[in-house]
């Protein structure tokens, strides 16, 4: 009996051995699920002789919690407003510009974002905006284009809409519909936005979901969805009936960026990784795999050029340089209040 026990323990140790031996020469990357082409990781490993520990995340708030627990990641991809917050909290290491030379391949609109004017701390990874994706056989395009976000107050859509279950995005929609800035810190405007959302909830009874809507729209489960343009591009490539529209009241330009947390264990390799991802070939592979917009100027040009992969795909290229579109900022009031208010909306 003891012999068997010992052999069992030995077997377990053997099984664990590969995991333990990974400890040196590793790079811990924390990214959203299905947000990269695996080939990029494999090629990076081969080229730099490190092992990439790839961990998955589903939203910026979860990422923030994870960082707070003291987990040490080397490269993290997350959304703009969260980076704004992390820079203010001094939890980010500056990029090593000697290594990260591919920053000059970025499209001009992606350089020097409001929270990081010189790209000292972060490098754009992918970007998109929030759009309406709708079934042209059920809703007339002219109507959507005329009404924009207001179409979600149309009783005809009762039971036929998906809304993204994300507090900031939902409130962005209400602020824009009311003509306010989505980065407002005015409690009265927040109250108005809340009332708008309650009205919407009671009129069309939408399903508040997250990523399920991508397959849902591709399969024609609902008529209209408020979704990220990359997801809308994917869904519209799957389902020809779908069209994509960025409302003229303005929308959110969301830019996901890479950064190196201040407790990273391998910052040099992290800089290498960021530089590697920014490069044309890898940026191309990532955008082709995810359908999200690349920040690399040349890639953007090539995939949307006639004959390119995303030639004529609505939603792939977000509207650029429109004055009513904004980027999220870290606004304490909204960060604190919107999650609870959204739950209250959902319970109406």
């Amino acid at each position: 009996m003891p012999k068997k026990l010992i052999s069992a323990l030995l077997l377990i140790c053997l099984l664990c051995a590969p995991l333990c031996s990974l400890a040196d020469g590793t790079l811990n990357v924390f990214n959203y699920g299905e947000y990269i082409d695996d080939e990029v990781i494999y090629n990076f490993e081969k080229e730099f002789g490190v092992r990439v520990n790839y961990s998955l995340n589903s939203n910026p708030e979860e990422m923030y919690t994870k960082l707070q627990t003291g987990v040490s990641y080397d490269v993290v991809v997350t959304s703009d407003y969260m980076i704004d917050r992390l820079i203010k909290e001094e939890r980010i290491l500056p990029l090593d510009k000697e290594i990260v030379t591919n920053l000059d391949q970025l499209d001009d609109s992606m350089k020097g974002l409001y929270f990081d004017p010189d790209n000292t701390y972060s490098a754009p990874y992918l970007w998109q905006n929030v759009v309406l994706c709708y079934d042209t056989t059920k809703i007339a395009p002219a109507k959507v284009e005329e009404k924009g976000w207001e179409i979600l107050l149309d009783p005809e859509l009762d039971g036929h809409a998906f809304i993204y279950d994300s507090p900031r995005d939902v409130f962005m929609m209400a602020f824009k519909a009311l003509g306010y800035s989505m980065n407002t810190d005015n409690p009265d405007e927040l109250q108005e936005a809340y009332d708008w959302l309650v009205k919407m909830k009671q009129t069309i009874h939408p399903s508040f979901v997250t990523d399920e809507m991508i397959d849902g729209m591709a399969q024609g489960e609902k008529w209209i969805a408020m979704m990220y343009s990359g997801d809308a591009a994917y869904a519209s490539m799957e389902n020809e009936k779908l069209a994509v529209w960025a409302p003229t009241q303005g929308t959110n330009i969301a830019i996901d960026c890479m950064f190196i947390p201040s407790n990273a264990t391998n910052p040099e390799m992290a800089n290498q990784f960021i530089n590697y991802v920014l490069d044309y070939d890898n940026s191309m592979m990532i955008t082709l795999e995810t359908c999200y917009t690349s920040p690399n100027a040349k890639v953007l040009e090539d995939v949307t050029a006639p004959g390119g992969e995303f030639d004529g795909v609505e939603g792939y290229l977000p509207r650029m340089g429109y004055e009513k579109d904004e980027i999220y900022q870290y606004v304490k009031l909204l960060q604190a209040e919107t999650p609870e208010l959204l739950i209250k909306v959902q319970m109406q």
């Binding site: 377990i12 664990c16 299905e34 947000y35 990781i41 998955l56 003291g70 399920e212 397959d215 994917y234």
Partner: protein
Amino acid sequence: MGNVSTNRLAGISMVQNSELETTKKKRPADNSGEPMQKKPAKHLTRIFSSSYLILILLFVYLPIVYLVLFSFNSGKSPSSFDGFSMRWYEALFRDRTMLESIYVTLIVAVISTVVSTVVGTVAAIGLSKAKRLIRTVVLEVNNLPVLNPDIVTAIGLMLLFMSIKIQPGMLTLILSHISFCIPFVILSVMPKLRQLDDNVAEAALDLGATPFKALTRVIIPQIAPAILTGALLAFSMSLDDFVVSYFNAGPGTNTISMYVESMKRYNLSVNAMATLFVVVVALILLLANLVPIIKDKKAQKEEPKNA
């Protein structure tokens, strides 16, 4: 101690006696109360009960059948079947993140099952011999993590690891799984221990067995089924846990539940993976049931020769 155990034994035997009496009383009534006219009614209830059973089985197994079927879909959709293909299995074996998360899940499940089964069994045996007060207190404490929502356990453990500055990773993942598996092992082993006859272990000691031998040769074989139940429970608890894993995993230690949670689009490789799990479980069940039968047959064949 002696008093308590004999009282308990007496209690058990009384229960058994009363059960026997009731069954004895019932039997003649049953036999006499079965006239010919009642047969059609009985027939009906049998049809009803078997169709009810079939409905329940369908309810349990149809989703699994559906899942297995769509793992062979040649299209991307989880709801419309386009044709047969193995592409999702190929995709599964090419997706390193997914393979690694399966690997991590299994390693964590195996280690935490082994550890929590050993610790839980030893704890249960110890508790069964402990003073009444200690036993009740420890068992109440043991019930807490079972009744506690997962999220409380998860965040509690996370805060604990943070405060003692352990980097989240494989170690914290395994420790947290062990911590929520042990109570279940204790809960499944305790009742079996209560049924044991203390005299058997004492007899073994009287006959010259060392306490360790008495434990391994006498007590453990008797409670083996309960230990197995506990181990299986622990294994499946660990395998499908999400919340505790999520808060206590570090870089590179995704479990399969975390992988599925972070998916943006539904990926039929998940069906392929689930199908493989179903096949493995079915094979194990088949072997577990066939091996004893084959052994029996062999033994039967050998017996006449020996005689």
